[in-house]
């Protein structure tokens, strides 16, 4: 979308290092909340007719208010739109546009959930949940697109492609993770958090306890299957060792969560609830990091180009500034001779071809124009296709002035 491209400047080298961190953070702010709110509202539909109090309590786990929608939905989605647009600067892939189209549907889904909970209308909750399911299916597809750059040149549709086995695997991981997180959140907020805690005599407390523990245990047992499937179908050029290490770490955490949930199912008193909730959040963070590792490896070549363009822009600016400073610089003859002997003679002689062309062949065009030679020495470019380009020697302004003066003097004397 041209309007988005026009709004952004090319990222600098420092921005490029910061962007992935911000993307991971924003996804971690958004996805756990979205998953918990979505699953808790879906579950509330099950209780809606036979136990309205239970349905209301499930709605309290991740309350959808102006502030939570603002902090956990609108802010991260708006940030992700610009962050991805910056991350993929200069590429034809329309990830920013896709997020821009998806975000209203996702926000509308949350607003419908909020309306349904406030007015006690199951139809709104059902419509909001369905909208969120569709929204996150497409969102999975967009995230999947980021680590398959070879598909970028062939995108022609205004919506992301969802008919792909990798997209389905990605979405299933999100769904099962949402169930696991929702289970842990129900236990944490309704059995541990002082302000939302269920009264001890609440009729549905035991049902919730068992249901939430079953969700944690079931989610922990099912997630490895989809995670391994996702790894199996992930594009090979995007994989790296860190993706496998992070997956192994997730498995260790899931094993601990599953053992905890199964043990708690066999007891009447709940313990370690906060640790389990933190563990579930850590699982979501590690899975987001794993996705990021796929994106980072897949986008290496795009980053090479971005780094090059930002380094080039910086070098041009530094060159201009240095040239202004160097106008009155006095060349040092001895320094010029030293640089000539130490560096230039590795590839150049005056009268014979070594790696680079002989000086007697190239210096005539600089005779009487030391500034032109200085410009070349500051930032050498390939001139003659018969020779390799001269590497940048990283000379200071004094060194450039000294060696150019020395070379031109030697050339004049040798005529």
């Amino acid at each position: 979308m041209d309007i988005l491209k026009d709004m952004l400047l090319p990222p600098g080298v420092e921005h490029l290092q910061l962007l992935p961190v911000l993307i991971v953070f924003m996804l971690w702010v958004h996805l756990p909340f979205a998953g918990i709110a979505w699953i808790c509202n879906l579950l509330s539909l099950v209780f809606w007719r036979r136990d309205p109090a239970a349905a209301r309590d499930l709605g309290r786990v991740a309350p959808i208010t102006w502030s939570t929608v603002g902090i956990f939905v609108v802010l991260p989605l708006a940030s992700l739109l610009f962050l991805f647009q910056h991350y993929l600067y200069g590429e034809s892939v329309p990830v920013g546009s896709y997020i821009l189209r998806l975000a209203p549907a996702i926000v509308l889904g949350f607003l419908l959930l909020a309306l349904g909970q406030r007015r006690q209308q199951a139809a709104f909750v059902a419509a909001g949940s369905a909208l969120l399911a569709g929204g996150y299916f497409f969102f999975s597809s967009v995230m999947n697109l980021v680590f398959t750059p070879e598909k970028w040149p062939f995108i022609s549709r205004p919506v992301p492609d969802v008919f792909s086995v990798t997209v389905v695997a990605h979405f299933k991981v999100f769904c099962v993770l949402a169930v696991l997180l929702a289970g842990a959140a129900i236990l944490f907020f309704l059995f541990r958090w002082p302000e939302k805690r269920l009264p001890a005599d609440a009729p549905h407390a035991e049902t919730f306890r068992r249901m939430a523990l079953a969700m944690v245990a079931g989610g922990s047992l099912l997630l490895p299957v989809f995670m391994i499937w996702e790894l199996y179908v992930a594009p090979e050029p995007a994989l790296s060792l860190s993706a496998f290490w992070l997956s192994a770490l997730v498995l260790v955490l899931l094993a601990a969560l599953a053992i905890w949930a199964v043990t708690m199912l066999g007891r009447t008193a709940l313990r370690w609830i906060a640790a389990a909730f933190v563990g579930a959040l850590a699982v979501s963070g590690l899975l987001i990091l794993k996705d990021h590792s796929l994106q980072a490896v897949a986008n290496q070549e795009h980053w090479v180009l971005l780094n090059e363009s930002s380094a080039r822009a910086l070098a041009e600016w530094q060159g201009k500034r240095a040239a202004e400073l160097a106008k009155n610089m006095v060349a040092d003859d001895k320094l010029g001779e030293k640089i000539y002997n130490d560096r230039c003679t590795a590839c150049h002689r005056f009268d014979q071809k070594v790696v680079g062309p002989p000086y007697n062949q190239v210096l005539p065009k600089y005779a009487g124009d030391a500034e032109k030679l200085k410009t070349f020495l500051r930032n050498p470019v390939k001139v003659d296709p018969a020779y390799p380009a001269m590497p940048n020697q990283g000379l200071t302004e004094l060194e450039v002035a000294s060696v150019s003066a020395y070379l031109l003097k030697q050339f004049e004397q040798g005529k």
Partner: protein, 172 residues
């Protein structure tokens, strides 16, 4: 009512160990078959193509005129390295091959199955840049495959450029 779930724990541990083994096996497979292969000489495309600005066809001389891009003969390397950077360990190794009149056995990175017929010349003449299939090689120290090179990907590209997707175009 409490139920005894402790008996399930060994099964859970076993299940997660199997999952860990599966992840390990996938990782091993990927590491063994997909990582950038170690070459006999640690040649850097980053230095030659990026820093020195050499064109791809400077070394892969037949890419634009034949089916195969070809790896450069040792003579091409020695044109510069007879005098440039001769003290570096990898150049010493290179000079060793040259003096022994022994070819370097490079490991092929972009390998297609025998039943897929690909010609470099046809693609280069049509204006397909080397980076479309090989990626930004000039940014990589050790070259690895950055495209799947699967049939679906080739067909997508042929479709987008309105080139024939008849089977015999590549399989003959």
């Amino acid at each position: 009512m409490a139920i005894n779930t402790r008996k399930l724990i060994p099964f859970l541990v076993g299940y997660f160990l199997v999952c860990l083994l599966a992840v390990g096996a996938l990782g091993w497979y990927w590491l063994d078959y997909q990582q950038a292969p170690v070459q006999p000489i640690d040649f850097s495309h980053q230095i030659h193509a990026n820093k020195l600005g050499l064109e791809c066809v400077f070394c892969h001389t037949t890419a634009a005129v034949s089916a195969r891009a070809s790896v450069p003969p040792l003579q091409r390397c020695m044109e510069c390295h007879e005098s440039a950077a001769t003290d570096r360990p990898e150049i010493v190794k290179l000079t060793g091959y040259w003096k022994a009149r022994q070819p370097i056995e490079w490991v092929k990175v972009h390998d297609l199955p025998w039943h897929a017929h690909f010609t470099h010349k046809r693609h280069i003449v049509a204006g397909v840049d080397c980076t479309v299939c090989h990626g930004q090689v000039k940014g990589e120290h050790r070259v690895r495959r950055v495209r799947s090179l699967m049939m679906g990907w080739c067909v997508d590209c042929h479709r987008s450029k309105q080139v024939s997707i008849d089977c015999w175009v590549c399989h003959h």
